[in-house]
Point group: C2
Chain length 374, copies 2
């Protein structure tokens, strides 16, 4: 579902340095986003997040340059805001009134916020053990929120079954092009913030992996535009032990294989046993001489402590990137001369202990329909 | 403790429109901040927060223009980041190693983060009923964290008593000039983001009120620079029923009087019965034909719901500004032709129910000293 742009035209009309005058949101790249009329843009202030240099950690780790991209400073506290700002702008242009998403949490609350801002009805389906605070967020934005007795792909199945009857526009990962295009802006920003250069290594927490795909698309388009040159960064996909289909598939040397059985990983954005675009992720890792790493819960906790001591609060997903970095430095895969960027994809606060609000729990679409009398 | 700048020199060296090229943090205004050498700047990506237009609410409320300044998108989830980025930059330049703050919560976690980033030791003193999640944040950034059996001014007293013996640099409200100067950037940003115009009304949640003082300083300096013209906005200070010294003092028509007895207001940034600069706040309200409003807990909850339905999550302090707006519209004090800006000063998530981490509770400095064996 790749969107084609007339990049020659963009390059002719938009000199790279003109971007300096643009607004401080991801919509500074409007020409590279699939929106017909910029007046329709649905914005809560997403993107153009800080890229913070960690000087103290560089000295401590003996690393040339280290940054963290603070995606938690987006509206709704995660990078998911980018995807929904774009997807719901497109949906609004198309006159859509009802949107539905399956999510491990952050996509749910982001959809809920943008739908509220657009005056659309939102339907959010989350795994039963989703952090209570994220469920609370969805409700606060007025979304119809349900838990599912299953994982994220079961929730996706529910929407796929019900969408026709209920008139839902399915905005799950890779179901439409807006979300991936919105996430592309992480890559555009990274290049611009580094002065149209790229780092040597990007470490990214990988569940569905659409952030990786988005950034890869960004870099490819920037090369075509002639705005960047040279090698792409080595992409490191971080997963959690117990849900590491990319790590296993990469090790096997063959095609991508989804995980048959998810084995007790934490309820975070990393828990996606069946990423819908696993094959593309594997191709990106291989093409960029990247790698995939599975880290333990204990390593994630260590990462949170270490980042906290640098003044950065991190979600489990973000902390996992620190854990992967230390592991890869120990192994010599990351060297002292490397420039490294970590992505803290969501807010630390979202995962704290909080009593779960009472919302319906369903098994599948038939069950939902019965319960809701719809 | 006003900082003097050579504004003629700034005006000569820095054409207003040059700012468009600057970085997307509050340090874009480095010439208007009291830092000797910009290389010492301690930044976690603070400031230049989104100013989001609420089109849906404008239609619903029949209001000309309404924006919310999303201060919760700062590092550490509140506007307090601005003050400490500046205060600790100055402290680092001066070679200071130990910093202490009394706080209702958000200033505590902001100090903790910036101190960690700077490699300083931080001491944070919070009221006993401070939201558990904020206490957790302070600990995660490695701060020495204590609760006090009392309110924010009692915690300030503790630091004042201990600072000499312990070698603490006291960064409580108005104890040094960095914090107020850092908060000034909210006003500078507001003017720049609105195209060097100001709104008719600014509604600001007012505890210690240093944000109000910072913005007033900003506008005064911008007028001297010739970067803005015309009347200042009417400042509305919002407080909570039970802790409303500004509202009472304004109604009395006389001088500022701190509250003798705080009466059961919520543990938020609004609960400051003895704001150290109450007289200055009162003068700003009077000079700008502003007002002060005390809202109830129920009105704050209503405000959170209403903002959530616009896609904006709000802290109790931020929601209080919505509550004040609706009240002042009902009374006709805000009219349909007004342009209004609300400040959401901190993150909704900080105030959710969360078990309090176990940290020492002390009565006063002698008690602290005994307990810590220092």
């Amino acid at each position: 579902m790749r969107v084609e742009y007339d990049l020659e035209r963009v390059a002719a009309l938009l000199p790279r340095d003109e971007l300096r005058y643009r607004e401080s949101t991801m919509w500074r790249y409007a020409e590279l986003l699939p929106v017909a009329d910029p007046r329709h843009i649905l914005s809560l202030g997403e993107g153009w997040t800080p890229l913070v240099r960690l000087y103290g950690a560089e000295r401590m780790m003996k690393l040339r340059k280290l940054w963290v991209k603070r995606e938690e400073q987006n509206p709704t506290g995660s990078f998911k805001a980018r995807g929904f700002s774009c997807a719901l702008t497109i949906a609004r242009e198309a006159g859509i009134r009802k949107v539905a998403v399956n999510s491990n949490g952050n996509a749910g609350s982001a959809l809920a916020a943008y739908a509220a801002h657009a005056g659309m009805e939102a339907y959010v389906f989350l795994p039963q053990d989703c952090p209570g605070l994220i469920v609370r967020e969805c409700l606060d934005y007025g979304a119809h929120t349900c838990l599912i007795d299953g994982l994220i792909h079961n929730a996706g199945q529910l929407i796929a079954e019900g969408k026709e009857e209920q008139g839902w526009h399915h905005v799950g990962t890779l179901r439409e092009h807006g979300r991936a295009e919105g996430k592309k802006t992480m890559g555009l920003e990274l290049a611009e913030q580094l002065g149209w250069r790229l780092p040597d290594v990007i470490i990214y927490p990988t569940g569905g992996g659409s952030g990786i795909i988005g950034m890869w698309n960004a870099f490819t388009q920037l090369r075509e535009l002639g705005w960047i040159e040279g090698e792409l960064p080595r992409f490191v996909c971080v997963q959690e032990e117990g849900c590491d289909p990319l790590v296993r598939s990469l090790a096997s040397g063959g095609q991508f294989r989804p995980l048959q059985e998810e084995a007790g990983s934490s309820p975070t954005g990393l828990r996606v046993p069946h990423p819908p675009d696993g094959e593309a992720l594997l191709a990106i890792i291989r093409e960029t001489s990247g790698t995939a790493v599975a880290v333990s819960r204990e390593e994630i906790r260590e990462g949170q402590r270490a980042l906290g001591r640098q003044g950065i609060s991190s979600s489990p997903e973000g902390a996992a990137t620190w854990a992967a970095m230390t592991r890869l430095m120990d192994e010599g895969w990351i060297g002292r001369q490397d420039e490294v960027v970590l992505f803290n994809t969501s807010h630390a606060m979202k995962y704290v202990e909080h009593p779960a609000p009472r919302v319906p729990v369903v098994k599948d679409y038939a069950d939902w329909r019965r319960l809701m009398r719809k």
